[in-house]
Symmetry: C2
Subunit: 357 residues, 2 copies
């Protein structure tokens, strides 16, 4: 039985990537070594890191004046690192709250600077309209969470922030569709959704934003120091980094971001149509802000959730429970989820509704 | 040709562990999933984490009143997290400087508290005698680096610090010989030497030291919050954690710490005897403080270093160059380095001396 894994992260990886990692595990390219035991300063690992760098730059068309950093600590680590790298204690930064993760980013930043809520969607089912945001003209940056993994709320356009750098947590949406990097000051993302495996966080930062880190920034999160050291201020998570590279190669081999974006649109359309055409399933996110990566839904009949999850698991559709904080269901349909997985889910949902609707 | 990897970290892993990781990569225990794509909250991953916990506790005989945490950011991350978790800005902590890493730990702590140098070996070839340390009686903790990876200097006994918690960086020595955990307040170690792969850091902390974290401690490094959340404040580096578990099982299957300590003593004896009985090779660390894990040595003839490294590589003995900051050679002979690897190195050293001595 095929297993389709709808986990929100760590999430599904391409079968081809897992197979290649297994094949290369005991002897990487005839080196006699596993990537897991290579010195990060060895020519072998440097070649892996360089290939990942050029492939990611190619995939996202990253401009020359942006650095790519590989860090540890997840996006949650960067919730602290962002204010520490970009602002001083008395500086202000504006946060747009669209769900659980942007709220957490705001709270963490409040330990270090005067973080300010520019807008709060409150019910987390839409992105507040830009003209309703209350922005500080002297804000050091404006922070958004491009895609809220828990609530399934996505920005449908890039906010125009003028001279104020836009900082975006793209953990659950990066590499899923084309982006214009030049519209952002900082893009950051935990790897465990569309990039690779948990344990590495990518930061893409415009060079002019480097060099202002607060004195108390932990060394491993000082972006300027990391940029100078090629992300090797200390021993990086080498194997995790290598996995990122395998995913980048897989994406390039399959048509790059343009092609995967088409597939992602198709998968999301299938699933939202199934929800909208049913009497049992419901998704209450504003249509324009519906995430193509994380699709939360509820059952309109009480008490059926556990039965839905259990029966789905029996046919190989796993990790469909919603986040602990909101309950219900959630299907995360990242790049590596094949359309067949979404089709199988839709078939199951239809059948379950027939039997329980 | 067998390859023996003397890298200081990421370092050699047991062949059996790498093979098992490769075998289990595409389908972990019939789950249909790779460990790399499992939700950290799945029953499968929880079982992996629990097994690692009980095996590590068993191996190190960790008392009940100590918590084991899995963190990100390496030991260098903990250089910041330690003062943040244990002290306030105006508090003092004593640092004993025995090499590069203890000095870095001291410098990073100075960003957050009044860190104080209690003793400084200066030349980094011995551990200063305890009676010469200048300790503060109101220090919040005393920090040591049990084994200096770059200089190959190890503590030959556990300092008696009375009521003041002893905090020890054991990155390059943990699991290599029995330790009495109860003599320490905090033990921490990056995984990439004797525990597993880069990307996870283990902290073993006495429970009464939890709960004093400074307000500005990044959430992911708040030890108390981590302890409460079973190290899952945010998505942990799951695959790295899993590898730790495989190494713990391997150690237990091979006789545990007592047995590996015997092998480590034998390997170190072989190598130091080869150095001491030669006219070409030199190690200037005080005999009592010679590391059994990292053996730096120099050649008494100038200009031969590159030749030594190149010829060694030709016979499969790799990553023998010393750290960039000190030059010379270094053989790291962690748990996973078989005695055959050290024997091969000694044979090569003898032959090289015959030809170049």
């Amino acid at each position: 039985m095929a297993v389709y894994n709808f986990s929100s992260g760590p999430g599904v990886l391409p079968d081809e990537v897992i197979k290649r990692a297994a094949d290369e595990m005991q002897d990487w390219h005839g080196s006699g070594l596993s990537v897991m035991e290579m010195s990060h300063r060895s020519p072998e690992f440097i070649s892996i890191a360089n290939k990942a760098e050029s492939d990611l730059r190619d995939l996202l068309q990253i401009p020359e004046n942006y650095k790519v950093l590989y860090l540890q600590g997840g996006a949650t680590g960067q919730f602290a690192a962002i204010p520490l790298n970009l602002a001083e204690e008395n500086d202000v930064a504006d946060y747009v709250i669209t769900g659980t993760w942007s709220k957490k980013a705001y709270s963490e930043a409040s330990k270090y600077i005067k973080s300010h809520i520019a807008a709060d969607a409150v019910e987390y089912n839409k992105v507040p309209r830009e003209k309703e945001w209350t922005l500080n003209k002297d804000a050091k940056y404006i922070h958004i969470t491009s895609n809220e993994t828990i609530e399934g709320v996505v920005f449908d356009s890039v906010p125009a922030t003028g001279d104020i750098p836009l900082v975006a947590d793209m953990s659950s949406v990066i590499l899923s569709e084309p982006i214009d990097v030049s519209k952002y000051g900082v893009i950051y993302a935990g790897a465990q959704k569309n990039i690779g495996i948990a344990g590495v966080t990518i930061v893409i930062v415009r060079e002019d934003l480097l060099g202002s880190a607060h004195r108390t920034t932990p060394s491993i999160w000082n972006w300027q120091a990391k940029a100078k050291a090629g992300s090797m201020v200390n021993t990086p998570p080498c194997y995790n980094w290598y996995l990122c590279g395998l995913v980048f190669e897989w994406l390039k081999d399959h048509g790059g971001i343009t092609e995967i974006a088409k597939q992602n649109a198709q998968k999301a359309k299938l699933l939202y149509e199934a929800i909208d055409s049913s009497d049992l399933y419901n998704n209450n996110v504003a249509v324009a802000n519906r995430s193509k990566m994380n699709v939360p839904f509820t059952l309109n009949k009480p008490g059926l959730d556990q039965e839905f999850i259990a029966q789905a698991k029996q046919v190989g559709l796993i990790t469909l429970q919603g986040h602990r904080s909101v309950g219900g269901m959630r299907a995360s349909i990242y790049n590596a989820m094949p359309v067949e997985g979404v089709e199988a889910l839709v078939r199951f949902m239809n059948k379950f509704e027939e039997q329980n609707g």
